[in-house]
Protein backbone atom coordinates (compact mmCIF):
# COMPACT_ATOMS: atom_id res chain seq x y z
CA UNK A 1 0.00 0.00 0.00
CA UNK A 2 2.65 2.46 1.08
CA UNK A 3 4.65 1.65 -2.01
CA UNK A 4 1.72 2.54 -4.23
CA UNK A 5 0.89 5.86 -2.57
CA UNK A 6 4.54 6.75 -2.35
CA UNK A 7 5.27 5.96 -5.99
CA UNK A 8 7.86 8.52 -6.98
CA UNK A 9 7.23 8.41 -10.71
CA UNK A 10 3.53 9.19 -10.27
CA UNK A 11 4.20 12.05 -7.88
CA UNK A 12 6.66 13.62 -10.28
CA UNK A 13 4.39 13.26 -13.30
CA UNK A 14 1.42 14.78 -11.50
CA UNK A 15 3.14 17.48 -9.48
CA UNK A 16 6.15 18.55 -11.57
CA UNK A 17 4.32 20.71 -14.16
CA UNK A 18 2.57 22.77 -11.48
CA UNK A 19 5.58 23.02 -9.24
CA UNK A 20 7.97 23.98 -12.04
CA UNK A 21 5.60 26.65 -13.38
CA UNK A 22 4.89 27.91 -9.90
CA UNK A 23 8.52 28.19 -8.88
CA UNK A 24 9.74 29.57 -12.20
CA UNK A 25 6.98 32.10 -12.69
CA UNK A 26 5.85 32.98 -9.18
CA UNK A 27 8.47 32.21 -6.53
CA UNK A 28 11.44 33.36 -8.60
CA UNK A 29 9.72 36.56 -9.85
CA UNK A 30 8.66 37.45 -6.30
CA UNK A 31 12.27 37.09 -5.12
CA UNK A 32 13.44 38.96 -8.21
CA UNK A 33 10.96 41.78 -7.56
CA UNK A 34 12.10 41.93 -3.93
CA UNK A 35 15.65 42.35 -5.18
CA UNK A 36 14.66 44.94 -7.78
CA UNK A 37 13.16 47.16 -5.10
CA UNK A 38 16.73 47.94 -4.02
CA UNK A 39 17.73 49.02 -7.53
CA UNK A 40 17.06 51.98 -9.74
CA UNK A 41 16.48 51.82 -13.48
CA UNK A 42 15.08 49.46 -16.12
CA UNK A 43 16.18 46.75 -18.53
CA UNK A 44 17.26 49.11 -21.30
CA UNK A 45 19.00 51.71 -19.14
CA UNK A 46 20.52 49.17 -16.79
CA UNK A 47 20.18 48.94 -13.03
CA UNK A 48 22.15 50.59 -10.27
CA UNK A 49 22.06 49.45 -6.69
CA UNK A 50 20.61 52.15 -4.46
CA UNK A 51 20.01 50.26 -1.21
CA UNK A 52 16.95 51.46 0.63
CA UNK A 53 16.79 54.75 -1.31
CA UNK A 54 13.59 53.63 -3.05
CA UNK A 55 11.85 53.20 0.28
CA UNK A 56 13.14 56.57 1.48
CA UNK A 57 11.89 58.04 -1.80
CA UNK A 58 8.46 56.50 -1.33
CA UNK A 59 8.05 57.96 2.14
CA UNK A 60 8.75 61.43 0.75
CA UNK A 61 6.91 60.96 -2.55
CA UNK A 62 3.65 62.94 -2.38
CA UNK A 63 2.13 60.91 -5.23
CA UNK A 64 3.11 57.67 -3.50
CA UNK A 65 1.69 58.66 -0.12
CA UNK A 66 -1.45 59.93 -1.80
CA UNK A 67 -1.96 56.63 -3.64
CA UNK A 68 -1.35 54.75 -0.38
CA UNK A 69 -4.12 56.75 1.28
CA UNK A 70 -6.46 56.25 -1.67
CA UNK A 71 -5.97 52.48 -1.37
CA UNK A 72 -6.45 52.45 2.41
CA UNK A 73 -9.50 54.72 2.46
CA UNK A 74 -11.09 52.84 -0.41
CA UNK A 75 -10.40 49.46 1.20
CA UNK A 76 -11.75 50.46 4.62
CA UNK A 77 -14.96 51.99 3.26
CA UNK A 78 -15.48 49.31 0.61
CA UNK A 79 -14.98 46.52 3.14
CA UNK A 80 -17.27 48.18 5.70
CA UNK A 81 -20.02 48.51 3.09
CA UNK A 82 -19.56 45.04 1.64
CA UNK A 83 -19.74 43.41 5.04
CA UNK A 84 -22.61 45.52 6.40
CA UNK A 85 -24.77 45.23 3.28
CA UNK A 86 -23.80 41.58 2.86
CA UNK A 87 -24.68 40.79 6.45
CA UNK A 88 -28.00 42.61 6.30
CA UNK A 89 -28.88 40.75 3.10
CA UNK A 90 -27.83 37.45 4.66
CA UNK A 91 -30.07 38.12 7.67
CA UNK A 92 -32.89 38.97 5.28
CA UNK A 93 -32.36 35.68 3.43
CA UNK A 94 -32.19 33.52 6.53
CA UNK A 95 -34.75 35.06 8.89
CA UNK A 96 -37.25 36.88 6.70
CA UNK A 97 -37.38 35.18 3.34
CA UNK A 98 -36.34 31.71 4.58
CA UNK A 99 -36.93 29.09 1.90
CA UNK A 100 -38.15 31.67 -0.63
CA UNK A 101 -34.84 33.51 -0.89
CA UNK A 102 -33.30 31.58 -3.80
CA UNK A 103 -34.35 33.94 -6.58
CA UNK A 104 -33.40 37.14 -4.73
CA UNK A 105 -30.10 35.58 -3.68
CA UNK A 106 -29.26 34.71 -7.27
CA UNK A 107 -30.39 38.04 -8.74
CA UNK A 108 -28.42 40.10 -6.22
CA UNK A 109 -25.35 37.91 -6.75
CA UNK A 110 -25.31 38.32 -10.53
CA UNK A 111 -23.44 41.67 -10.82
CA UNK A 112 -20.46 39.95 -9.18
CA UNK A 113 -19.70 38.01 -12.36
CA UNK A 114 -19.79 41.12 -14.56
CA UNK A 115 -16.40 42.51 -15.60
CA UNK A 116 -15.40 45.42 -13.36
CA UNK A 117 -14.57 47.48 -16.43
CA UNK A 118 -18.10 47.03 -17.78
CA UNK A 119 -19.62 47.89 -14.40
CA UNK A 120 -17.42 50.97 -14.09
CA UNK A 121 -18.44 52.22 -17.54
CA UNK A 122 -22.07 51.50 -16.69
CA UNK A 123 -21.84 53.60 -13.53
CA UNK A 124 -19.99 56.29 -15.38
CA UNK A 125 -22.93 56.68 -17.75
CA UNK A 126 -25.39 56.22 -14.90
CA UNK A 127 -24.13 59.31 -13.05
CA UNK A 128 -23.28 61.29 -16.18
CA UNK A 129 -24.21 64.93 -16.72
CA UNK A 130 -24.38 66.97 -19.90
CA UNK A 131 -25.85 65.91 -23.24
CA UNK A 132 -26.63 62.41 -22.12
CA UNK A 133 -27.55 62.88 -18.49
CA UNK A 134 -27.85 59.67 -16.49
CA UNK A 135 -30.74 58.61 -14.23
CA UNK A 136 -29.04 59.65 -10.99
CA UNK A 137 -28.98 63.30 -11.97
CA UNK A 138 -32.51 63.03 -13.36
CA UNK A 139 -33.64 61.96 -9.93
CA UNK A 140 -31.74 64.85 -8.37
CA UNK A 141 -33.38 67.28 -10.81
CA UNK A 142 -36.77 65.76 -10.07
CA UNK A 143 -36.22 66.42 -6.38
CA UNK A 144 -35.53 70.03 -7.26
CA UNK A 145 -31.75 69.79 -6.93
CA UNK A 146 -29.19 70.77 -9.53
CA UNK A 147 -27.19 68.21 -11.50
CA UNK A 148 -23.99 67.05 -9.87
CA UNK A 149 -20.90 66.19 -11.88
CA UNK A 150 -19.76 63.38 -9.64
CA UNK A 151 -16.64 62.50 -11.58
CA UNK A 152 -15.34 66.07 -11.51
CA UNK A 153 -14.42 65.82 -7.83
CA UNK A 154 -12.26 63.47 -5.81
CA UNK A 155 -14.97 62.76 -3.25
CA UNK A 156 -17.55 62.20 -5.99
CA UNK A 157 -15.32 59.77 -7.87
CA UNK A 158 -14.56 57.82 -4.71
CA UNK A 159 -18.25 57.80 -3.89
CA UNK A 160 -19.19 56.38 -7.28
CA UNK A 161 -16.36 53.83 -7.08
CA UNK A 162 -17.56 52.71 -3.66
CA UNK A 163 -21.18 52.58 -4.79
CA UNK A 164 -20.29 50.40 -7.78
CA UNK A 165 -18.13 48.14 -5.63
CA UNK A 166 -20.92 47.67 -3.10
CA UNK A 167 -23.47 47.25 -5.86
CA UNK A 168 -21.53 44.53 -7.62
CA UNK A 169 -20.22 42.60 -4.63
CA UNK A 170 -22.84 42.83 -1.86
CA UNK A 171 -24.68 39.82 -3.28
CA UNK A 172 -21.48 37.81 -3.17
CA UNK A 173 -20.79 38.65 0.47
CA UNK A 174 -24.44 38.00 1.25
CA UNK A 175 -24.14 34.44 -0.09
CA UNK A 176 -20.85 33.95 1.73
CA UNK A 177 -22.32 35.07 5.07
CA UNK A 178 -25.61 33.31 4.33
CA UNK A 179 -23.86 29.93 4.23
CA UNK A 180 -22.28 30.82 7.56
CA UNK A 181 -25.65 31.71 9.10
CA UNK A 182 -27.18 28.46 7.84
CA UNK A 183 -24.58 26.59 9.89
CA UNK A 184 -26.08 27.95 13.11
CA UNK A 185 -28.24 25.12 14.48
CA UNK A 186 -31.97 25.87 14.44
CA UNK A 187 -32.28 24.71 18.05
CA UNK A 188 -29.97 27.50 19.24
CA UNK A 189 -32.09 30.16 17.53
CA UNK A 190 -35.31 28.52 18.72
CA UNK A 191 -34.26 28.29 22.35
CA UNK A 192 -33.05 31.89 22.26
CA UNK A 193 -36.46 32.89 20.91
CA UNK A 194 -38.20 30.98 23.66
CA UNK A 195 -35.96 32.78 26.13
CA UNK A 196 -37.36 36.01 24.82
CA UNK A 197 -34.61 37.18 22.51
CA UNK A 198 -36.07 38.79 19.43
CA UNK A 199 -35.09 41.01 16.54
CA UNK A 200 -31.99 43.07 17.17
CA UNK A 201 -31.24 41.40 20.51
CA UNK A 202 -31.30 37.98 18.91
CA UNK A 203 -28.89 39.12 16.21
CA UNK A 204 -26.63 41.01 18.59
CA UNK A 205 -26.27 38.33 21.28
CA UNK A 206 -26.81 35.04 19.48
CA UNK A 207 -26.39 35.29 15.71
CA UNK A 208 -23.45 37.69 15.52
CA UNK A 209 -21.16 35.80 17.96
CA UNK A 210 -22.00 32.48 16.31
CA UNK A 211 -21.25 33.76 12.82
CA UNK A 212 -18.04 35.51 13.87
CA UNK A 213 -15.64 33.04 12.17
CA UNK A 214 -17.22 33.46 8.72
CA UNK A 215 -17.47 37.20 9.34
CA UNK A 216 -13.74 37.38 10.06
CA UNK A 217 -12.76 35.45 6.94
CA UNK A 218 -15.08 37.64 4.88
CA UNK A 219 -13.48 40.79 6.26
CA UNK A 220 -9.99 39.47 5.54
CA UNK A 221 -10.98 38.43 2.04
CA UNK A 222 -12.65 41.77 1.42
CA UNK A 223 -9.60 43.75 2.57
CA UNK A 224 -7.31 41.64 0.43
CA UNK A 225 -9.35 42.28 -2.69
CA UNK A 226 -10.22 45.95 -2.11
CA UNK A 227 -6.65 46.93 -1.18
CA UNK A 228 -5.75 45.79 -4.70
CA UNK A 229 -8.45 47.93 -6.30
CA UNK A 230 -7.42 48.77 -9.85
CA UNK A 231 -10.03 48.22 -12.59
CA UNK A 232 -12.83 50.29 -11.10
CA UNK A 233 -10.89 53.45 -10.32
CA UNK A 234 -8.99 53.26 -13.62
CA UNK A 235 -12.04 52.66 -15.80
CA UNK A 236 -14.23 55.12 -13.93
CA UNK A 237 -12.04 58.17 -14.12
CA UNK A 238 -8.45 57.16 -14.90
CA UNK A 239 -7.48 57.80 -11.28
CA UNK A 240 -8.65 61.38 -11.68
CA UNK A 241 -9.37 64.17 -11.31
CA UNK A 242 -5.61 64.50 -11.69
CA UNK A 243 -4.21 61.57 -9.76
CA UNK A 244 -6.29 62.13 -6.64
CA UNK A 245 -8.08 58.77 -6.89
CA UNK A 246 -5.16 56.72 -8.22
CA UNK A 247 -4.66 53.77 -5.84
CA UNK A 248 -1.32 52.11 -5.10
CA UNK A 249 -1.88 49.52 -7.84
CA UNK A 250 -2.39 52.17 -10.52
CA UNK A 251 0.58 54.19 -9.29
CA UNK A 252 2.70 51.04 -9.43
CA UNK A 253 1.47 50.24 -12.94
CA UNK A 254 2.19 53.74 -14.22
CA UNK A 255 5.60 53.96 -12.53
CA UNK A 256 6.75 50.60 -13.85
CA UNK A 257 5.21 50.47 -17.30
CA UNK A 258 4.53 54.06 -18.38
CA UNK A 259 7.64 55.66 -16.88
CA UNK A 260 9.72 52.44 -17.08
CA UNK A 261 10.96 52.79 -13.49
CA UNK A 262 11.23 49.07 -12.76
CA UNK A 263 13.11 49.45 -9.50
CA UNK A 264 10.80 51.99 -7.94
CA UNK A 265 7.77 50.15 -9.35
CA UNK A 266 8.88 46.99 -7.56
CA UNK A 267 9.22 48.98 -4.35
CA UNK A 268 5.61 50.13 -4.67
CA UNK A 269 4.50 46.55 -5.33
CA UNK A 270 6.28 45.51 -2.13
CA UNK A 271 4.54 48.27 -0.19
CA UNK A 272 1.22 46.91 -1.49
CA UNK A 273 2.11 43.37 -0.44
CA UNK A 274 3.10 44.55 3.04
CA UNK A 275 -0.12 46.55 3.28
CA UNK A 276 -2.21 43.43 2.58
CA UNK A 277 -0.20 41.52 5.17
CA UNK A 278 -0.60 44.24 7.81
CA UNK A 279 -4.37 44.39 7.32
CA UNK A 280 -4.75 40.61 7.47
CA UNK A 281 -2.70 40.39 10.66
CA UNK A 282 -4.53 43.35 12.18
CA UNK A 283 -7.92 41.69 11.65
CA UNK A 284 -6.58 38.42 13.08
CA UNK A 285 -5.14 40.11 16.16
CA UNK A 286 -8.15 42.24 16.94
CA UNK A 287 -10.41 39.20 16.77
CA UNK A 288 -8.22 36.92 18.84
CA UNK A 289 -8.24 39.63 21.50
CA UNK A 290 -12.02 39.83 21.31
CA UNK A 291 -12.48 36.10 21.65
CA UNK A 292 -10.08 36.11 24.61
CA UNK A 293 -12.24 38.72 26.32
CA UNK A 294 -15.38 36.72 25.67
Amino acid sequence: MKRVFGDRKTIIILLAPTLVLYIALKVVPVAWSLGLSFFEGNTLRGFTFVGIDNFAKFVQDPAGIQSLWVSIIFAVLATAGQIVFGYLLALLYVFVLRKGSAFIRTAVFFPMVLPTVAVALLFKSFVAVGDNQGPVNDVLNFLGLGSVEFLASTVGTMGVALAMTWWSSMGFYAVLLYTGLLDIPDEVIESARIDGANGIRLVRHIVLPLSLPILISSIIFSFNSTLKVFDSLLALNGGGPGTTTAPLTLYMYRTAFEYAEYGYGSTIALVLTLLCLVFTLAVFRSTSKKSAEA
Binding site: F5, V30, F109, L122, D138, T249, F257
Partner: protein, 301 residues
Protein backbone atom coordinates in the same frame (compact mmCIF):
# COMPACT_ATOMS: atom_id res chain seq x y z
CA UNK B 1 -33.44 33.60 34.96
CA UNK B 2 -34.41 31.30 32.17
CA UNK B 3 -37.82 30.75 33.70
CA UNK B 4 -38.75 34.39 33.91
CA UNK B 5 -37.67 34.93 30.33
CA UNK B 6 -39.76 31.98 29.24
CA UNK B 7 -42.79 33.54 30.88
CA UNK B 8 -42.20 36.85 29.17
CA UNK B 9 -41.79 35.03 25.91
CA UNK B 10 -45.04 33.17 26.21
CA UNK B 11 -47.22 36.11 27.23
CA UNK B 12 -47.43 37.87 23.83
CA UNK B 13 -47.87 34.51 22.15
CA UNK B 14 -51.05 33.71 24.08
CA UNK B 15 -52.43 37.16 23.41
CA UNK B 16 -51.91 36.62 19.70
CA UNK B 17 -53.84 33.34 19.65
CA UNK B 18 -56.84 34.98 21.30
CA UNK B 19 -57.27 37.38 18.37
CA UNK B 20 -59.95 36.86 15.77
CA UNK B 21 -58.65 35.10 12.65
CA UNK B 22 -59.30 38.03 10.31
CA UNK B 23 -57.35 40.45 12.44
CA UNK B 24 -54.44 38.05 12.57
CA UNK B 25 -54.32 37.70 8.84
CA UNK B 26 -54.50 41.45 8.32
CA UNK B 27 -51.75 41.92 10.88
CA UNK B 28 -49.61 39.37 9.14
CA UNK B 29 -50.07 41.08 5.79
CA UNK B 30 -49.34 44.45 7.36
CA UNK B 31 -46.18 43.05 8.84
CA UNK B 32 -45.12 41.77 5.43
CA UNK B 33 -45.49 45.18 3.75
CA UNK B 34 -42.11 46.55 4.88
CA UNK B 35 -40.52 43.29 3.73
CA UNK B 36 -42.02 43.62 0.26
CA UNK B 37 -40.95 47.24 0.16
CA UNK B 38 -37.35 46.32 1.03
CA UNK B 39 -37.30 43.57 -1.59
CA UNK B 40 -38.75 45.81 -4.27
CA UNK B 41 -36.16 48.47 -3.49
CA UNK B 42 -33.39 45.89 -3.53
CA UNK B 43 -34.42 44.51 -6.91
CA UNK B 44 -34.72 47.99 -8.41
CA UNK B 45 -31.25 48.95 -7.17
CA UNK B 46 -29.72 45.72 -8.48
CA UNK B 47 -31.58 45.30 -11.75
CA UNK B 48 -32.41 48.78 -12.99
CA UNK B 49 -28.86 49.86 -13.97
CA UNK B 50 -28.47 46.69 -16.03
CA UNK B 51 -31.87 47.01 -17.71
CA UNK B 52 -31.19 50.68 -18.37
CA UNK B 53 -27.87 49.83 -20.01
CA UNK B 54 -29.32 47.10 -22.23
CA UNK B 55 -32.26 49.29 -23.25
CA UNK B 56 -29.84 52.11 -23.99
CA UNK B 57 -27.92 49.90 -26.38
CA UNK B 58 -30.89 50.05 -28.79
CA UNK B 59 -31.17 53.82 -28.79
CA UNK B 60 -29.99 56.02 -31.62
CA UNK B 61 -27.66 58.94 -31.04
CA UNK B 62 -30.51 61.45 -31.34
CA UNK B 63 -32.57 59.51 -28.80
CA UNK B 64 -29.65 59.72 -26.37
CA UNK B 65 -29.45 63.47 -26.84
CA UNK B 66 -33.10 64.47 -26.92
CA UNK B 67 -35.14 61.84 -25.06
CA UNK B 68 -35.05 61.54 -21.29
CA UNK B 69 -32.70 58.83 -20.05
CA UNK B 70 -35.48 56.67 -18.61
CA UNK B 71 -37.40 56.60 -21.91
CA UNK B 72 -37.68 53.25 -23.67
CA UNK B 73 -35.91 52.93 -27.02
CA UNK B 74 -38.12 53.81 -29.98
CA UNK B 75 -37.20 50.65 -31.86
CA UNK B 76 -35.14 47.55 -31.22
CA UNK B 77 -32.72 47.67 -34.11
CA UNK B 78 -29.23 46.31 -33.79
CA UNK B 79 -27.35 49.19 -35.42
CA UNK B 80 -25.25 49.89 -32.35
CA UNK B 81 -24.21 46.27 -32.10
CA UNK B 82 -23.24 46.15 -35.77
CA UNK B 83 -21.25 49.34 -35.30
CA UNK B 84 -19.50 48.09 -32.17
CA UNK B 85 -18.47 44.92 -33.96
CA UNK B 86 -17.42 46.45 -37.26
CA UNK B 87 -16.07 49.89 -36.44
CA UNK B 88 -14.83 49.15 -32.99
CA UNK B 89 -12.54 46.22 -32.27
CA UNK B 90 -15.13 44.28 -30.32
CA UNK B 91 -15.02 41.17 -32.55
CA UNK B 92 -11.23 40.96 -32.34
CA UNK B 93 -11.37 41.63 -28.59
CA UNK B 94 -13.79 38.77 -28.08
CA UNK B 95 -11.67 36.39 -30.16
CA UNK B 96 -8.60 37.32 -28.12
CA UNK B 97 -10.43 36.90 -24.84
CA UNK B 98 -11.57 33.44 -25.87
CA UNK B 99 -8.12 32.49 -27.19
CA UNK B 100 -6.63 33.48 -23.84
CA UNK B 101 -9.30 32.34 -21.40
CA UNK B 102 -10.04 28.84 -22.69
CA UNK B 103 -6.43 27.54 -22.76
CA UNK B 104 -5.62 29.23 -19.45
CA UNK B 105 -8.60 27.71 -17.67
CA UNK B 106 -7.93 24.28 -19.20
CA UNK B 107 -4.29 24.42 -18.08
CA UNK B 108 -5.14 25.69 -14.61
CA UNK B 109 -7.68 22.95 -13.99
CA UNK B 110 -5.67 20.05 -15.48
CA UNK B 111 -2.44 20.94 -13.72
CA UNK B 112 -4.23 21.90 -10.54
CA UNK B 113 -6.18 18.67 -10.16
CA UNK B 114 -3.07 16.58 -10.81
CA UNK B 115 -1.05 18.56 -8.29
CA UNK B 116 -3.85 18.39 -5.74
CA UNK B 117 -3.89 14.60 -6.09
CA UNK B 118 -0.12 14.35 -5.74
CA UNK B 119 -0.21 16.53 -2.63
CA UNK B 120 -3.17 14.95 -0.88
CA UNK B 121 -3.66 11.34 -1.94
CA UNK B 122 -0.03 10.43 -2.49
CA UNK B 123 2.04 10.13 0.68
CA UNK B 124 5.58 11.46 0.70
CA UNK B 125 7.91 13.49 2.82
CA UNK B 126 7.59 17.23 2.34
CA UNK B 127 4.12 17.29 0.87
CA UNK B 128 2.78 19.52 3.64
CA UNK B 129 5.64 21.96 3.17
CA UNK B 130 4.98 22.00 -0.58
CA UNK B 131 1.30 22.70 -0.04
CA UNK B 132 2.21 25.52 2.32
CA UNK B 133 4.58 26.99 -0.25
CA UNK B 134 1.80 26.97 -2.84
CA UNK B 135 -0.63 28.43 -0.31
CA UNK B 136 1.75 31.34 0.18
CA UNK B 137 1.28 32.21 -3.48
CA UNK B 138 -2.38 33.02 -2.91
CA UNK B 139 -1.46 35.79 -0.50
CA UNK B 140 1.04 37.58 -2.76
CA UNK B 141 -0.56 40.23 -5.00
CA UNK B 142 -0.06 39.90 -8.75
CA UNK B 143 1.78 43.22 -8.83
CA UNK B 144 4.79 41.49 -7.26
CA UNK B 145 5.48 39.42 -10.36
CA UNK B 146 4.57 41.81 -13.17
CA UNK B 147 7.91 43.55 -13.63
CA UNK B 148 10.07 40.39 -13.70
CA UNK B 149 7.64 38.59 -16.00
CA UNK B 150 7.48 41.58 -18.31
CA UNK B 151 11.28 41.49 -18.57
CA UNK B 152 11.32 37.75 -19.26
CA UNK B 153 8.60 37.88 -21.91
CA UNK B 154 10.38 40.79 -23.56
CA UNK B 155 13.72 38.94 -23.63
CA UNK B 156 12.05 35.80 -25.02
CA UNK B 157 10.35 37.83 -27.73
CA UNK B 158 6.88 36.75 -26.66
CA UNK B 159 5.43 40.23 -26.36
CA UNK B 160 3.87 40.10 -29.82
CA UNK B 161 1.63 37.16 -29.00
CA UNK B 162 -1.05 36.11 -26.54
CA UNK B 163 1.35 33.72 -24.78
CA UNK B 164 2.29 36.13 -21.97
CA UNK B 165 -1.37 36.36 -21.00
CA UNK B 166 -1.98 32.60 -21.11
CA UNK B 167 1.16 31.83 -19.12
CA UNK B 168 0.57 34.53 -16.52
CA UNK B 169 -3.08 33.63 -15.96
CA UNK B 170 -2.15 29.98 -15.57
CA UNK B 171 0.43 30.78 -12.92
CA UNK B 172 -1.92 33.18 -11.12
CA UNK B 173 -4.74 30.63 -11.02
CA UNK B 174 -2.73 27.57 -10.05
CA UNK B 175 -2.14 28.14 -6.32
CA UNK B 176 -5.81 28.48 -5.38
CA UNK B 177 -6.87 25.65 -7.70
CA UNK B 178 -4.24 23.27 -6.36
CA UNK B 179 -5.18 24.13 -2.80
CA UNK B 180 -8.92 23.69 -3.41
CA UNK B 181 -8.36 20.39 -5.24
CA UNK B 182 -6.28 19.12 -2.33
CA UNK B 183 -9.09 19.96 0.09
CA UNK B 184 -11.63 18.23 -2.16
CA UNK B 185 -9.46 15.11 -2.33
CA UNK B 186 -9.13 15.23 1.45
CA UNK B 187 -12.90 14.84 1.79
CA UNK B 188 -12.85 11.59 -0.23
CA UNK B 189 -12.61 8.55 2.11
CA UNK B 190 -9.16 7.02 1.84
CA UNK B 191 -10.71 3.55 1.49
CA UNK B 192 -11.78 4.43 -2.05
CA UNK B 193 -8.16 4.70 -3.16
CA UNK B 194 -7.00 1.83 -0.99
CA UNK B 195 -9.60 -0.49 -2.47
CA UNK B 196 -8.37 0.36 -5.94
CA UNK B 197 -4.84 -0.50 -4.88
CA UNK B 198 -6.04 -3.89 -3.66
CA UNK B 199 -7.51 -4.47 -7.08
CA UNK B 200 -4.05 -3.97 -8.52
CA UNK B 201 -4.56 -0.55 -10.04
CA UNK B 202 -1.24 1.19 -10.76
CA UNK B 203 -0.70 4.54 -9.01
CA UNK B 204 -0.81 6.69 -12.12
CA UNK B 205 -3.78 4.83 -13.56
CA UNK B 206 -5.55 5.30 -10.25
CA UNK B 207 -5.43 9.06 -10.69
CA UNK B 208 -7.10 8.86 -14.09
CA UNK B 209 -9.58 6.08 -13.32
CA UNK B 210 -10.58 6.96 -9.72
CA UNK B 211 -9.32 10.45 -8.87
CA UNK B 212 -10.40 12.39 -11.95
CA UNK B 213 -13.98 11.06 -12.22
CA UNK B 214 -14.51 11.77 -8.51
CA UNK B 215 -13.57 15.39 -9.10
CA UNK B 216 -15.90 15.99 -12.04
CA UNK B 217 -18.08 18.40 -10.08
CA UNK B 218 -15.17 20.15 -8.42
CA UNK B 219 -13.43 20.57 -11.77
CA UNK B 220 -16.48 22.22 -13.34
CA UNK B 221 -16.94 24.51 -10.34
CA UNK B 222 -13.32 25.62 -10.26
CA UNK B 223 -13.21 25.98 -14.04
CA UNK B 224 -16.15 28.39 -13.85
CA UNK B 225 -14.58 30.45 -11.08
CA UNK B 226 -11.28 30.65 -12.97
CA UNK B 227 -13.10 31.48 -16.18
CA UNK B 228 -14.62 34.57 -14.61
CA UNK B 229 -11.42 35.70 -12.97
CA UNK B 230 -9.45 35.38 -16.23
CA UNK B 231 -12.20 36.78 -18.45
CA UNK B 232 -12.77 39.81 -16.20
CA UNK B 233 -9.12 40.63 -15.53
CA UNK B 234 -7.79 43.99 -16.58
CA UNK B 235 -4.42 44.39 -14.87
CA UNK B 236 -2.54 41.56 -16.57
CA UNK B 237 -4.21 42.11 -19.92
CA UNK B 238 -3.25 45.78 -19.82
CA UNK B 239 0.33 45.09 -18.77
CA UNK B 240 1.16 42.47 -21.38
CA UNK B 241 -0.85 43.77 -24.33
CA UNK B 242 1.38 45.81 -26.56
CA UNK B 243 -0.81 46.11 -29.65
CA UNK B 244 -4.45 46.91 -30.19
CA UNK B 245 -5.14 43.71 -32.11
CA UNK B 246 -3.97 41.66 -29.11
CA UNK B 247 -6.32 43.42 -26.72
CA UNK B 248 -8.82 41.38 -24.71
CA UNK B 249 -12.39 42.53 -24.23
CA UNK B 250 -11.64 44.41 -21.00
CA UNK B 251 -8.77 46.36 -22.54
CA UNK B 252 -10.94 46.90 -25.61
CA UNK B 253 -13.80 48.32 -23.55
CA UNK B 254 -11.42 50.67 -21.79
CA UNK B 255 -9.93 52.05 -25.01
CA UNK B 256 -13.34 52.21 -26.64
CA UNK B 257 -14.46 54.40 -23.76
CA UNK B 258 -11.47 56.68 -24.27
CA UNK B 259 -12.10 56.86 -28.00
CA UNK B 260 -15.77 57.70 -28.12
CA UNK B 261 -17.14 57.28 -24.65
CA UNK B 262 -18.26 60.89 -24.47
CA UNK B 263 -19.53 61.24 -28.03
CA UNK B 264 -20.89 57.97 -29.41
CA UNK B 265 -23.04 56.44 -26.70
CA UNK B 266 -24.75 53.71 -28.71
CA UNK B 267 -21.79 51.46 -29.62
CA UNK B 268 -20.31 51.75 -26.11
CA UNK B 269 -23.66 50.83 -24.54
CA UNK B 270 -23.89 47.92 -26.98
CA UNK B 271 -20.38 46.67 -26.14
CA UNK B 272 -21.15 46.77 -22.40
CA UNK B 273 -24.54 45.14 -22.93
CA UNK B 274 -23.02 42.20 -24.79
CA UNK B 275 -21.08 41.46 -21.61
CA UNK B 276 -24.17 41.67 -19.45
CA UNK B 277 -26.34 39.51 -21.72
CA UNK B 278 -23.70 36.86 -22.47
CA UNK B 279 -22.76 36.44 -18.81
CA UNK B 280 -26.42 36.44 -17.80
CA UNK B 281 -27.05 33.46 -20.08
CA UNK B 282 -24.12 31.57 -18.54
CA UNK B 283 -25.28 32.58 -15.08
CA UNK B 284 -28.88 31.48 -15.54
CA UNK B 285 -27.75 27.93 -16.29
CA UNK B 286 -24.84 27.60 -13.89
CA UNK B 287 -25.58 30.00 -11.04
CA UNK B 288 -25.58 27.35 -8.28
CA UNK B 289 -22.12 26.12 -9.24
CA UNK B 290 -20.74 29.62 -9.76
CA UNK B 291 -22.01 30.86 -6.40
CA UNK B 292 -20.80 27.80 -4.51
CA UNK B 293 -17.41 27.90 -6.20
CA UNK B 294 -16.78 31.59 -5.62
CA UNK B 295 -17.77 31.30 -1.97
CA UNK B 296 -15.51 28.26 -1.44
CA UNK B 297 -12.61 29.99 -3.18
CA UNK B 298 -12.73 33.02 -0.94
CA UNK B 299 -13.28 31.43 2.45
CA UNK B 300 -10.55 28.88 2.02
CA UNK B 301 -8.25 31.34 0.30
Amino acid sequence: MTETQTLVGIAPLSRKTSRVPFGRRAARIARRIPVWFVIALLLIVVLYPQVWMVLGSFKTQSEFLSNPTWALPESFDLDNYVQAFTRGNVAVNYRNSLLVTLPSVALIVMLGVAAGYALEVMIWKGRHATLLLILGGIMVPGQMILVPLFTVYFKLGLTNSLWPLIITYTVMGLPLTTFLMATYFRSVPREVFEAATMDGCSPLKQFFVIGLPLMKNAILTIALVQFFSVWNDLLIALTFTSKQDLATIQVGLLSMNDQYGSTQYGPLFAAISINIVALLIVFVFLNKKIMAGMAAGSVKG
